[in-house]
């Protein structure tokens, strides 16, 4: 187990290097000067030159790359071009909101999605068709549109839930939850659809395998065949996609935070992108990659626990 964690951590080093390199190269590869893009059309050549010098863009590319890696290694992600504050601090202050959204959304959609998928795979008939069609439509719903429609229905028409805002969990847990209900619903619906479809396919595969027939042949009741045996095996492929699901949720959070005025990392990225605040986005990308690596590690541990093959070999 410890060896698995160690191996995965070592394997994630190249990913971090690639991400750092990409975030650096993107700035390098663009035609023209990033400084010019940042300052806009009306910038004077002197102003552009000053900003280039400030960002270190006038030095040779290889030197810049090494400087950049050195900075990342020492935890210095630079300062926001917009506010001038330390990128680390800015990202850290915004993380809790996004992480509570993303983690709860992942867990919730895993549980609901697996349940819907199993029911669709085993019941068949009309229910299967309704669930399959429903999840198909769910996958085609744009998160942002769904979010606005939820606000329209539950905040404007029914006045049940607040449309915007966030309360930290420690300040008021109930208010925290109330503010997260709509954003979570908007985020989860699509993920539930995705997980349900995957579970349905995986369950169908498992239910066709010979061991299912053998279990039925000795009189094992249907409930145990489906929920104990088939699902345990179907959960392995479903589990490996939870990492991708987390990436999806992070992407969704960017939009969701905008609609519900939650000041998380997603909103921060959008603000930074509109203002060409490159250091901040670089910081966000690096932190998010680290989060994705952490989630994938959890997924690996889950797979390890579920599959005896992975445990023995």
């Amino acid at each position: 187990m410890l060896r698995l964690i160690g191996r995965r951590l070592v394997e994630s080093v190249p990913l971090m290097i690639v991400v750092c390199a990409i975030t650096f190269l993107l700035v390098q590869l663009i035609p023209g000067s990033p400084a010019a893009t940042i300052l806009g059309n009306q910038a004077t050549p002197e102003a552009i030159a000053r900003l280039e010098q400030e960002m270190g863009l006038d030095r040779p590319p290889l030197e810049q790359l090494f400087v950049w890696f050195g900075q990342v290694l020492t935890g210095d992600l630079g300062n926001s071009l917009l506010t001038g504050s330390d990128v680390n601090e800015v990202v850290a202050s915004r993380m809790p909101i996004t992480m509570s959204l993303a983690i709860i959304a992942c867990l919730l959609s895993a549980v609901l999605g697996i349940w819907v998928g199993v029911v669709a795979a085993t019941r068949g008939g009309l229910l299967d068709r309704i669930l399959t069609t429903g999840s198909g439509v769910g996958l085609a719903l744009p998160t942002f549109w769904l979010a606005v429609v939820l606000v329209l229905v539950f905040s404007i028409w029914l006045r049940w839930l607040p449309a915007t805002g966030y309360t930290p969990f420690l300040t008021d847990p109930v208010a925290w939850l109330v503010h997260l209900v709509l954003p979570l619903t908007a985020l989860c619906l699509i993920q539930v659809a995705a997980v349900a479809r995957q579970t349905r396919v995986a369950m169908r595969d498992e239910l066709d395998r010979p061991y299912i027939r053998s279990l039925r042949a000795v009189g094992v009741p249907r409930r145990s065949v489906v929920w104990k045996h088939a699902l345990r095996n179907a959960a392995i492929p479903v589990c490996t996609t939870l990492g991708l699901q987390f990436i999806g949720v992070l992407g969704g959070a960017v939009v969701i935070e905008q609609v519900f005025a939650l000041g998380g990392v997603g909103a921060l990225t959008v603000e930074a992108a509109s203002a060409h605040d490159i250091p901040t986005i670089q910081g966000v990308v690096i932190y998010s990659t680290a989060a994705v690596i952490a989630v994938n590690l959890v997924v690996d541990i889950l797979t390890y626990a579920l599959s005896p093959k992975a445990r023995v070999s």
Binding site: P14, L15, V18, V19, I22, T23, L26, V27, P34, T37, G124, G136, V137, L139, A140, P142, F144, W145, V148, V149, V151, L152, I156, R209, P210, Y211, S214, R216, A217, V218, G219, V220, P221, H229, R232, L244, I247, L250, G251, V255, Q258, V259, T269, A272, A273, S274, A275, H276, D277, I278, I281, Q282, V284, V285, T289, V292, S307, P308, K309, V312
Partner: protein, 623 residues
């Protein structure tokens, strides 16, 4: 050709309808492609067909609902929503195409080369693809937009780069698989250039998964693009863009909730259309055929004296296809009944029908009586109570018939508890010992993938014995095993039978096994029993020409290099089964009469011209 394939494996037959039947085009494909074509036409002809100028505002008519003039209403500046959506379609579809084009171009070329060439290039590119798939995509796109400025084309190019990893995986897997196939080797030997081989043989094999991936990519690219546009990162305001239009609509939620409908609707429908195309192409599974009840006069089940399990006129059908056609047989305690025949004769389906283990879309007619209880048409609950202690089933794939995720001990304890065991742990180990496993404790702790085939079959038999069954149905229990192991497993079955007085129904195509362990034999051909009797009778003096030909086709020692005798032709697929003799077209004894009159099972044989007994026994003894 397709016929013999379908006939060769009844399991495959269940999965796919016969290829020659006409298939209606998938509704999802029609709807999806229809919408996409409509949208493409709308985008191309927007300047001509749009009823209004997408930018012309009419403040007096702002935020109106749908009307004759404004089909989908107007926005806050009084612009026609329908015209704006039409004009926005171009950039929406254009962006999607850019993403797919970049993804395909990068992913396919590098993937095919990596899969075909292999080696370090393959290792390196595969690793990079894994890395790219693990990146938080939308954040990188935001970085791209921050650096390059507001133009969604850049974002879509970057997205194409990200999804190229998915296309790469498909192309690589396809190329690597095909590389190992013989025809590519043959082509290389024949002096065809590798590049030509790739284009001619490798690409066509990968088309389907790639089209599926492309349609899913189209849907995600569309949603992503609209999302970025919604966030205000697309083209600046007056330009009609779908995502931005939802954003504008969301500003006027109080005044005009209607605006959300057409703006979001067009995005949903388009994404749905792409998904539908992908789904339709992924789902190769046969759509279920309606089960039709046929009017049959059910004969009074004549349960033979002393039998524990008796099937009378058993019929199994899938839709219009009858795959088991009027089988009558009986199993007696302490005796073994063998079901023999070529592949595709319905032996396995008969065995599954006896155990009530047919797939849910199978329709069963006739009667199966176990100890006086009718099983045909019984509910799943009733069957559950019979399975295990009444009837148990052993399959031909020992390892695959064990659940890979649970230990052997746990798989024994669950049915033991079900059948009322008070000390399942010790009983499990005892059962393993009983099936001849020396290290019973060790095996109980291990998992199926750690066992050999023979060991797994012993475990499977132990599991089948947990409920002390009266009837044991064994479907080719030794086919997948080594010859030495085969004999051991047969000995084990014989031993269990001797101790418990179990009735065994043994499905096999191996006359050696029949001669070795069976007491009675039923020869099946094309879903029917064509001959039955004691093993001694049937082997010594087969009466049906099919049985005679099967026995004659056995390789015999001392034949030297003489070609193996075979029966010419193959078992016809169920769709071609005739009411007259089904063996007639392969039979050397067939006359015109055989093609005209239905044949019934009479005096143990279903034949108009049974083999004369004397002559046949003389032939056999003269060998």
């Amino acid at each position: 050709m397709t016929h013999s394939v379908a006939a060769a494996d009844p399991a495959k037959m269940l999965a796919a309808p016969p290829a020659h039947r006409f298939r209606r085009p998938d509704t999802r494909l029609v709807l999806g492609l229809g919408w996409i074509v409509l949208l493409l036409l709308g985008a191309l002809l927007a300047p001509v067909v749009a009823p209004h100028d997408p930018l012309a505002s009419d403040i007096g008519a702002s935020l109106q609902g749908p009307s004759g003039t404004y089909w989908l209403g107007t926005d806050n500046l009084g612009r026609d929503v329908f015209s704006r959506l039409l004009h926005g379609a171009g950039s929406a579809i254009g962006g999607v195409l850019v993403a797919i084009a970049v993804g395909l171009a990068l992913g396919l070329t590098i993937g095919v080369v990596a899969g075909y060439v292999g080696g370090w290039f393959d290792t390196l590119t595969s690793r990079i693809a894994d890395l790219i798939l693990a990146l938080p995509g939308i954040l990188l796109l935001l970085l791209v937009l921050a650096v390059l400025g507001r133009d969604l084309t850049y974002a879509m190019i970057a997205y194409g780069f990200l999804v190229s990893a998915a296309f790469f995986r498909l192309a690589r897997a396809g190329a690597a698989e095909v590389r190992h196939e013989l025809f590519v080797d043959a082509a290389t030997v024949a002096g065809v250039s590798p590049a030509w081989t790739l284009v001619r043989h490798v690409l066509p094999n990968m088309i389907r998964p790639i089209v599926v991936q492309a349609s899913l990519t189209a849907s995600t690219a569309l949603l992503l693009q609209a999302g970025l546009s919604f966030l205000g990162l697309g083209a600046p305001p007056p330009a009609p863009q779908w995502g931005a239009m939802v954003q504008e609509a969301s500003q006027y939620l109080y005044q005009s909730p209607w605006l959300m409908v057409p703006t979001g609707g067009v995005i949903v429908l388009t994404a749905l259309a792409f998904n539908l195309v992908g789904d339709a192409l992924t789902d190769e599974r046969a759509r279920p055929v309606a089960v039709r009840d046929r009017e049959t006069v059910r004969p009074e089940p004549a349960v033979p004296e002393g039998s524990v399990l008796a099937a009378t006129d058993l019929r199994v059908s899938f839709g219009d296809l009858t795959v088991v056609d009027g089988v009558t047989l009986a199993a007696h305690p302490g005796r073994t009944l063998a079901l023999v025949g070529e592949s595709g004769c319905g032996k396995t389906l008969t065995a599954l029908a006896l155990a009530g283990l047919l797939p849910p879309d199978a329709h069963v007619d006739g009667s199966v009586v176990l100890d006086g209880r009718e099983l045909a048409g019984a509910s799943e609950k009733e069957l559950e109570s019979v399975r295990g202690n009444g009837i148990a089933y052993i399959s031909q794939e020992p390892i695959a018939s064990l659940d890979p995720s649970y230990s052997i001990g746990s798989q024994l304890r669950e049915p033991l508890k079900l059948h009322g065991s008070t000390a399942p742990r010790t009983e499990a180990v005892e059962l393993l010992r009983r099936v001849g496993i020396a290290d019973a404790e060790g095996v109980a702790r291990s998992f199926p993938h750690q066992l050999s085939g023979g060991m797994a079959q012993r475990v499977a038999i132990a599991i089948a014995l947990t409920g002390r069954p009266r009837v044991l149905i064994a479907d080719e229990p030794t086919t997948a095993l080594d010859v030495t192991v085969q004999a051991e497993i047969l000995d084990l079955l014989r031993e269990i039978q001797a101790q418990d007085g179990t009735a065994v129904v043994l499905v096999t195509h191996d006359w050696g096994v029949v001669a070795d362990v069976a007491d009675e034999v039923a020869v099946m051909y094309a879903g029917q029993v064509v001959e039955h009797g004691t093993v001694a009778e049937v082997i010594a003096a087969p009466r049906h020409p099919y049985t005679r030909d099967l026995l004659a086709a056995l390789p015999e020692p001392g034949q030297g290099r003489a070609p193996l005798p075979t029966i010419p032709g193959s078992v016809p697929p169920p769709a071609e089964w005739v009411p007259t003799c089904r063996y007639a077209n392969r039979c050397t004894d067939a006359t015109e009469e055989c093609l005209l009159h239905p044949v019934v099972l009479a005096d143990r044989v279903r034949c108009l011209h049974p083999v004369a007994q004397k002559e046949e026994s003389w032939q056999l003894s003269s060998r």
